[in-house]
């Protein structure tokens, strides 16, 4: 896999800087995404999945900072690139959509211009050409009457429409990798499915790989071939999406699966009540010793408190970081 991987993340460490101290907000995270592959990162808020994405696109800002490890994009190390070089990748080869479509667009510019900007920035187009291409891009994300919509300002559009504009911006330059950070969380349920379908269709058509980030394991399993589960700054399990559902290996993943509502056939098998995982995600500044999940884990033993578990490859594919994995 590593030979033809589009993106390789190796032992990534991201620090939260508080005064003079550095806390490992993300530690030893390793994963890879192949060309055109859809990879999911799932976990509760605060587990480090969003800042991992920000680190990939070089947008970490104080109090967060890169702490170590390697990020290889098309085999080239990008974690130490200069700002200028990173800018050539950003938006062009790697692009990102964010959670809040309501505030992610500049309120003072027509949306067409905000899309057109991409062609001017990265493709050397003139504004005139770019505005024309923006109409096409808007049509591409299935916005009706795109030639009129380009002149609209963000506040005149609905949340779903704005997220379509964001997708048009992100995919304008046909990037190799799209980072989608909770792209549907802020939207109505009915709109969510349309937006996800749009991301899936367009990325498949362009051959764009997608890193999908969500707290919703169900959504991730629907969209992605493989899934990484994060907890308290660590990647605790990485498997094929279907496997994760059937045979979760890490106790945290089991908890996540058990907390999902089941629909249709599987629902009749039995559980009547949704399970929840007791306790809360610890703060970055107060991660526990040993396995970071141990205070909430039902399978906890002495070793879980004493020793940080190593990553173990699973016989049926994938990896897990647990002393007592299933």
């Amino acid at each position: 896999m590593s030979g033809d991987a589009l993106l390789q993340v190796e032992n990534l460490r991201l620090d939260l800087i508080v005064g003079q101290r550095r806390f490992g907000a993300v530690k030893d995270v390793t994963f890879a995404i192949g060309r055109g592959e859809t990879f999911g990162l799932v976990g509760e808020s605060g587990c480090g999945k969003s800042i991992t994405a920000l680190a990939l696109i070089g947008l970490l800002r104080r109090p967060l900072a890169f702490g170590g490890g390697r990020i290889l994009f098309k085999g080239r190390e990008i974690q130490d690139l200069s700002d200028g070089e990173m800018r050539k990748l950003r938006g062009n080869a790697i692009s990102m959509i964010f959670q809040e479509p309501m505030t992610a667009l500049n309120p003072l510019s027509p949306v067409g211009r905000q899309i057109a900007e991409m062609f001017v920035l990265h493709k050397g187009a003139t504004w005139h050409e770019a505005e024309r291409q923006a109409v096409e891009a808007l049509a591409n994300v299935r916005v009706p009457a795109p030639d009129r919509r380009v002149r609209d300002y963000p506040h005149q559009l609905s949340g779903g429409m704005r997220q379509r504009v964001m997708i048009a911006i992100a995919l304008a330059c046909r990037p190799d990798l799209l980072l989608a950070d909770e792209p549907t969380t802020a939207l109505d349920v009915t709109v969510q499915a349309e937006i996800l379908e749009l991301i899936r269709d367009l990325s498949a058509a362009q051959g764009t790989a997608v890193l999908m980030i969500s707290h919703d394991l169900g959504l991730i399993a629907n969209m992605c071939a493989r899934v990484g589960v994060m907890y308290a700054g660590r990647l605790v399990e990485e498997r094929a999406a279907q496997e994760v559902f059937r045979t979760p290996s890490h106790p945290y993943t089991s908890g996540l699966v058990a907390s999902l509502p089941l629909l249709g056939a599987r629902a009749s098998h039995g559980r009547s009540r949704l399970k929840e995982i007791a306790g809360v995600v610890p703060a970055v500044t107060a991660f526990p010793e040993g396995c970071r999940f141990n205070p909430r884990c039902q399978a906890r033993t002495e070793i879980c408190i004493a020793q940080d578990p190593e990553e173990t490859a699973l016989a049926r594919g994938g990896r897990v970081r647990c002393h007592h994995h299933a």
């Binding site: 696109i57 700002d83 950003r90 938006g91 964010f98 992610a104 309120p107 003072l108 900007e117 911006i169």
Partner: protein, 311 residues
């Protein structure tokens, strides 16, 4: 856009009317009237008959409601009445004072904008840094300075000790005469603008759309110029408009200190002399000036920000 301007104009009319009503009432309910205060205050001896004559002449013997109706009727034809003292039309007295006050207010505001906005901007780029700390300490000090004392100190230093600038007077509108009063008047809005700009830039710097701009691969310079500056400008503009009110208010003191022949000195002199029509006229014109400036600022903000245009 035209619709917005029209709507904004319509909003200003009731306020202006209410101000007219308020100051009319204020000066009508006071115990005694102009003629008797003249007797108590002025040194001249006025007999009962001339009081009577004066009251009739100025219509002060009519009932309140009639007087108000007459007053508003005259206002509608831009007639502000006649000065008790000089017997000249108030409009005439105000007319020759308006331009110096506008000069002073605009010069003070320009000074405040030219220094305050860049200062706040620089401070926000490195919050907690040296520039930030120094400029914010300067700003809070500037807000705390009594303007007329600052003016007095500037006058002492630059006019009387160094002799670089004239110490007072209008000097037929020469720039040299304008410098000291406008600096004294501009320091407070400068400080406030520095603080507002800093807060606005800091807030927008963390806005989602600025992150989007960076994620697009835009250079930091373009992010600042294109996305940050324009958005901060809207907030700064609104502050400028509101600050005009306090600048015109404070101009009264500065004009008095520097013997500047503006509306403010006319107002203060008329207050001391109880020349009520002139006081009323001055306040009305000052409020009108403030409203007009704010309207222009709002229109300018609406040009930049579509949300204001369509709301």
């Amino acid at each position: 856009m035209l619709q917005f301007v029209f709507r904004r104009l319509l909003q200003a009319i009731p306020i202006l009317l209410a101000v007219a009503g308020l100051i009319f009432l204020l000066f009508s309910v006071i115990p005694g009237n102009f003629a008797s205060t003249q007797m108590a205050d002025g040194r001249s001896v006025v007999d009962a008959e001339s009081i009577e004559r004066m009251n009739r002449q100025f219509g002060l013997d009519q009932p309140l409601a009639t007087r108000f109706a007459t007053y508003v009727g005259k206002l509608a034809t831009l007639d502000l009445g006649t000065s008790f003292r000089t017997r000249q039309p108030v409009w005439h007295l105000i007319g020759e004072r308006l331009w110096p006050t506008m000069q002073l207010a605009f010069a003070a505001m320009m000074f405040a904008i030219a220094i305050g906005v860049p200062l706040g901007f620089l401070a926000a780029l490195r919050p907690g840094g040296i520039v930030d700390t120094v400029s914010m300490v300067t700003a809070v000090s500037g807000l705390s300075l009594p303007k007329f004392w600052l003016g007095l100190m500037l006058m002492y230093l630059f006019a009387l000790q160094l002799g670089w600038l004239p110490s007072f007077g209008y000097g037929d509108g020469a720039l040299r005469n304008l410098i000291l009063p406008s600096v004294a008047l501009g320091v407070a809005p400068l400080a406030l603008l520095a603080r507002t700009t800093r807060a606005a830039v800091l807030e927008i710097m963390n806005a989602d759309f600025v992150r989007t701009a960076r994620a697009k691969g835009m250079s930091e310079r373009r992010v600042v110029q294109w996305h940050l500056a324009r958005n901060a400008l809207v907030i700064v503009l609104t502050t400028v408009g509101l600050q005009f009110g306090s600048v015109i208010g404070q101009a009264v003191v500065i004009e008095k200190l520097f013997a500047w022949p503006g509306l403010g000195s006319l107002l203060v002199d008329s207050v001391s002399l109880r020349d009520i029509p002139v006081v009323q006229g001055c306040i009305l014109v000052i409020v009108l000036f403030f409203l007009v400036v704010n309207m222009l600022v709002d229109v300018l903000a609406a040009v930049i920000d579509p949300r204001i245009r369509y709301s």
